[in-house]
Assembly symmetry: C2
Homo-oligomer: 233 residues x 2
């Protein structure tokens, strides 16, 4: 085997690595995720890769076709609007509960998460315009923290799943000036402000705008052909 004294399992770590690799586009939509290739890449046995993939299936980041293998799901721009609406509704409900129930510590942690997000560089320094993995993580952490005090694990998990799905659309959208250059910091600041001032209605509205604006930009930009499933592996 390959481990010693850590706490959680190899499978968990591989799952997280795979998740980030899919979100960052290392494996692209439609691509077949072969067990042998992945176990070589992640330097572990096919068993743990299989478990990691199976787990990601539950989060809709991987699709399993019985007896055919695992695949990265392809995206459909037609679904994006409904997808976004579902996300908005879920988060509106979530933030409402979270604001009702959040403690002072929650407020503090939300500020902390926001601070981290603000200080994490958004774009890679290589000029590719690609969003960095660190920023993506901080962004999801910020939004997750806002909902964390809602008290409903299903909802937290749902929100994470929908966030990942949205990241996929964002990642495979045609890069445009508007998408790349958008000033997202103000939106986050306002959301944080509404939440920690316990204004659920305003927080919900701001979240909806925040998500919907991104959605509109993605829909205007369209998806890269690699995301539609007709690409080569």
């Amino acid at each position: 085997m390959a481990r010693r004294g850590d706490s959680d399992t190899l499978s968990t770590k591989v799952r997280e690595r795979l998740r980030l690799d899919i979100l960052s586009g290392l494996w692209h939509p439609g691509e077949k995720l072969q067990l042998a290739a992945l176990s070589a890449h992640y330097e572990t046995s096919s068993t743990v890769v299989r478990e990691a993939l199976t787990r990601l299936t539950g989060a809709r980041l991987v699709e399993l076709k019985p007896n055919r293998g695992f695949f990265v799901p392809t995206l459909s721009i037609d679904e994006l609007r409904d997808f976004n609406e579902l996300r908005c509704r879920a988060e509106e409900f979530g933030i409402q509960l979270a604001i009702e129930r959040g403690s002072l510590q929650w407020e503090a942690e939300a500020h902390a998460a926001h601070h981290t997000l603000e200080r994490t560089p958004r774009h890679a320094s290589d000029g590719s315009g690609r969003v960095t993995e660190e920023w993506l993580t901080a962004h999801e952490a910020f939004h997750a923290k806002l909902l964390s005090s809602c008290g409903l694990p299903v909802l937290i998990e749902l929100s994470a799943t929908l966030a990942d799905g949205n990241s996929m659309y964002r990642r495979w959208a045609v890069p445009t000036k508007e998408l790349l250059g958008r000033n997202i910091e103000d939106e986050h600041r306002e959301i944080l402000d509404a939440a920690t001032n316990r204004d659920a209605a305003r927080a919900g509205k701001l979240l909806r705008q925040h998500y919907s604006l991104t959605m509109e930009l993605i829909m205007k930009a369209g998806l890269l052909p690699e995301a539609l499933g007709d690409s080569a592996a």
Copy 2:
């Protein structure tokens, strides 16, 4: 091995069996699901049991504690109200989309599913008052069919997950006359009627009432002690 010419995998079948066994209460909340015991019970290797359990983890029917094993999640009556609200919101949105987009065939299939449901006996003939597995399946199939034309796979899956969660609460509620004797058939008929007459607002309202009434009855009845996690295996 144990198979030859079927289509989908052993793992899928074991997962479905496990799912129904958990919903029906064969394994109860808090119980540890040991790989060795389960592979003996389902007559297969621990590998496929593990995969089945991992998959069910994604549907929140099983919980995995790293290096500790798999467990049936315990229930908390406090969460039920929020849980129900999330479900209502998701289904209201889903039924709205489904009604906008459903074809004539969808209408027909909804009627078919409803017919099956109506003709499937609800309670076991042994007088235990327990809901039959067949009725449970038909019930979920009916509701799933209503949403099936919404065009958003995430939402369909979410709805199925929430339905399973609700079944758990229903299963582990203290049996009361009101819960056992409720006339649920009229509600289904009305929902079907609203949906196939393309009245989204009414369908949504009826669904909300349908779910919320069950919830209220469960909250009034309370949960059996076995569901709370302090029971022996």
